[in-house]
């Protein structure tokens, strides 16, 4: 599953990362949360307005570390391990 962000770069280029997860996002990418495979993280994400169905913008990523997301005016940092358990759809796939 490969999509494109606004800059024309392909998703899923990060070596070793499952292409359909948050872990592939890079700064500037947009995506929609499709599934969170962690009970407490799923609840916490809804509290922050980033539950399943929410559109998120990737603010930045730290190499091997967290993915920083923004939705509306809310920002959160998601650890890499959790990012791998959060499935996403890219904006293209939903059109």
């Amino acid at each position: 599953m490969r999509g494109h962000n606004g800059h024309g770069r392909a998703f899923g280029r990060r070596r070793g990362e499952d292409p359909g997860t948050l872990a592939v996002l890079r700064a500037g990418d947009e995506a929609v949360i499709a599934g969170i495979h962690d009970d407490s993280a799923r609840a916490q994400a809804v509290r922050f307005g980033m539950g399943v169905g929410a559109s998120v913008h990737c603010v930045t990523t730290l190499p091997g570390g967290p993915v920083v997301l923004r939705s509306g005016r809310q920002e959160i940092a998601v650890g890499r391990g959790l990012a791998r358990r959060i499935r996403i759809e890219t904006a293209d796939e939903r059109r």
Binding site: Q44, G49, R80
Partner: protein
């Protein structure tokens, strides 16, 4: 006002069972200023913190006819961590909930608000920091919000005391708001079994602890309920919120700058260097030089010794206790006032600046990758940094961590390899004599041990650690009044505790000295202190003192005339040595006796092992 739609009639007078004052429970997300409300309402200042999780203890106070109860900051009511469970139970027992909402961040905060409304609790909303919100171009229609929520909404600026009188005045109008009507039938059905509406909702939301109290299986409706609630929050926010400034602000750019490793790590390094310059050079060197040597040793000690000697000759029991080598009026007073106070004050002032600015969660994101190697996630940086202030406080703050495994590892790391500010104070003052390289070596060795212990515990500890999921609140300029109040309260609290242990410890050591026990211990420990660690025989005294407090133990090395490498060995050994009595008590309470026994064996054994090896290594170099 649409009172007809309310689930309970507005209560004109609050419940008052058997003369008990009604309780107002302050609830809100982390960072919204709950503790400032508490302080302003009760007049007694308590620990205020800007960071998720630092208001750990429940504090109670009184305002007019109300009992005011503070709770830990939470994003929702549930049992995802210990703090949430504590907050939940306090909130469930409230007569009125005062929900504090950050006007800058309604999208996040109103989720808790709607949950509290769904719980059916009588409440009032304080829309706080409206001034800051306006500065950021965020305007909230208070009247409309009040109508949509169905509970009184009062605009406040708690740090300036604005809106507090109105808030208290409207507590009498507190009532349950407009709950999610689709939940009603399920809640009513479940309430038959739980006995209360609020607990019924929590069981429906899958709260295992609440379900267990009623011998029920937690339901699995959480995702549905949460998603509906989120939709309602977004809907309300869409109606009441107007933002005039959509552009990228300086704070947003600075936040990016702090998070990107290429710029964030150098910034962190610069910050640490600045902290070292302020605390290690100016405070520990210049200010402590003045307070310790000039003021305390130059003026105070001769003066008080003269006073004591008018009544008791040198060598008598009273003279030794009051003005001897470990005298409570001489040595103890000098360390407390001359050494520890300036450094602890400096540390907490800098910490408060960090907390108030919102920089800490960004550090947590930066540190996440390194900490996952130790079985922790970035969030653990908060108790660890607080541990640098006071290991006891750091240990209490491990409650914000998501699993037992993480609390286990973080507690051990702090108890063994994190020196507290008082200890750093004494060590910095000692290290200032031998130069920066030895100080660097000391911190380098501790860091290596820290990483080694963390990596080892990650391998050995069973279970799974949780991943980082942390809110990055907007950066803001620290409010100086807030910073000063916050840090002075902590310094006062800390110094009071330290003083008690120092005084008791000094008296205890003097008794050992008078009875000859100290000599016996010193002679018995010669193979260890002199033979293995390469220190003078008196070093045994410092280790005995170290059982009272590690900083007290470090202070014991002050007058021994150690050379530079002996000093390094002594400082590393005493740092790794047992944690102070106060933190031991907290560790037993939080982790149990078995944990403590393992920890003590590990830290004493490890301290002497590493100290001795270091001594050999330095001899070779």
């Amino acid at each position: 006002m649409s009172a007809a739609r309310c689930h309970g009639a507005p209560s004109r007078s609050l419940p008052r069972e058997g003369g008990r004052r009604p309780s107002l429970v302050l609830a809100g997300n982390p960072n919204v200023g709950k503790s400032v409300f508490f302080g302003a309402l009760t007049g007694t200042y308590v620990d205020v913190s800007n960071f998720p999780g630092t208001t750990v203890e429940i504090t109670r106070g009184r305002h007019a006819d109300y009992d005011i109860v503070d709770t830990p900051g939470v994003y929702g009511v549930g049992s995802f961590n210990d703090e949430e469970a504590v907050a939940r139970d306090v909130i469930l027992g409230a007569d009125v909930v005062v929900n504090i909402v950050d006007a800058v961040h309604p999208e996040r905060d109103l989720f808790l608000t709607l949950q509290l409304i769904d719980l059916g609790l009588p409440m009032v909303v304080a829309l706080n920091m409206v001034d800051e919100a306006r500065r950021q171009g965020v305007v909230i229609d208070r009247d409309l919000l009040e109508d949509l929520l169905g509970v009184p909404v009062v605009e406040t600026v708690a740090v300036e005391g604005r809106g507090l009188d109105e808030l208290i005045a409207r507590v009498t109008e507190a009532r349950p708001g407009h709950a999610d009507h689709t939940l009603e039938s399920d809640i009513v059905e479940m309430a038959v079994r739980t006995g209360s509406r609020a607990e019924a909702l929590l069981v429906l939301e899958g709260d295992e602890q609440v379900a267990a109290r009623h011998d029920l299986e937690p339901a699995d409706a959480r995702d549905v309920i949460y998603t509906r609630r989120r939709t309602r929050v977004d809907d309300i926010v869409g109606h009441v919120l107007t933002t005039t400034d959509e552009g990228v602000t300086f704070a947003t750019r600075l936040s990016r700058f702090m998070l990107r490793p290429a710029t964030g790590l150098p910034l962190l390094a610069v910050l640490l260097a600045a902290v070292y310059q302020v605390l290690g050079v100016w405070v520990a060197g210049d200010i402590v030089g003045l307070t310790e040597e000039t003021l305390m040793q130059g003026v105070w000690e001769p003066f008080v010794r003269g006073l004591v000697e008018r009544g008791f000759a040198d060598g008598t029991v009273v003279h030794t206790l009051l003005a001897g080598e470990f005298g409570v009026l001489t040595m103890t007073a000098t360390y407390l006032v001359g050494v520890i106070f300036p450094l602890v004050a400096g540390f907490y002032l800098l910490m408060a600046l960090l907390e108030d600015s919102g920089y800490l969660p960004r550090i947590a994101a930066l540190a996440d990758r390194a900490l996952t190697g130790m079985g922790l996630n970035g969030r653990a940086i908060i108790p660890l940094i607080l541990g640098l202030g006071c290991v006891t406080m750091g240990t209490l703050t491990t409650r914000i961590l998501g699993s037992k495994r993480e609390r286990f590892i973080a507690t051990a790391l702090m108890a063994i390899a994190v020196p507290c500010s008082a200890q750093i104070a004494v060590i910095a003052a000692l290290m200032a004599r031998v130069g920066g390289w030895y100080a660097a070596a000391y911190f380098g060795i501790l860091l290596a041990i820290f990483v080694a212990i963390g990596t080892m515990l990650n391998r050995l500890t069973p279970g799974v650690s949780t991943d980082l999921l942390i809110d990055l609140p907007p950066l803001r300029l620290p409010r100086i009044g807030n910073v000063v109040r916050k840090s002075s309260a902590k310094v006062w609290h800390f110094m009071r505790e330290v003083a008690l242990f120092f005084l008791a410890g000094a008296a205890f050591i003097s008794v050992l000295q008078l009875t000859g026990v100290l000599d016996a211990i010193q002679r018995a420990a010669v193979p260890l202190t002199v033979g293995w660690l390469g220190l003078p025989a008196e070093a045994a005294t410092a280790f005995v003192m170290g059982f009272v407090r590690r900083d007290f133990g470090a202070a014991g090395f002050f007058t021994m005339g150690l050379n530079a490498s002996q000093l390094l060995v002594a400082m590393v050994t005493i740092t790794l040595f047992v944690p102070c009595i106060a933190s031991i008590m907290v560790i037993v309470k939080e982790r149990g006796w078995g944990y403590l026994a393992g920890l003590l064996a590990g830290s004493v054994g490890g301290a002497f092992l590493i100290g001795g090896l270091l001594s050999r290594l330095l001899a070779v170099i």
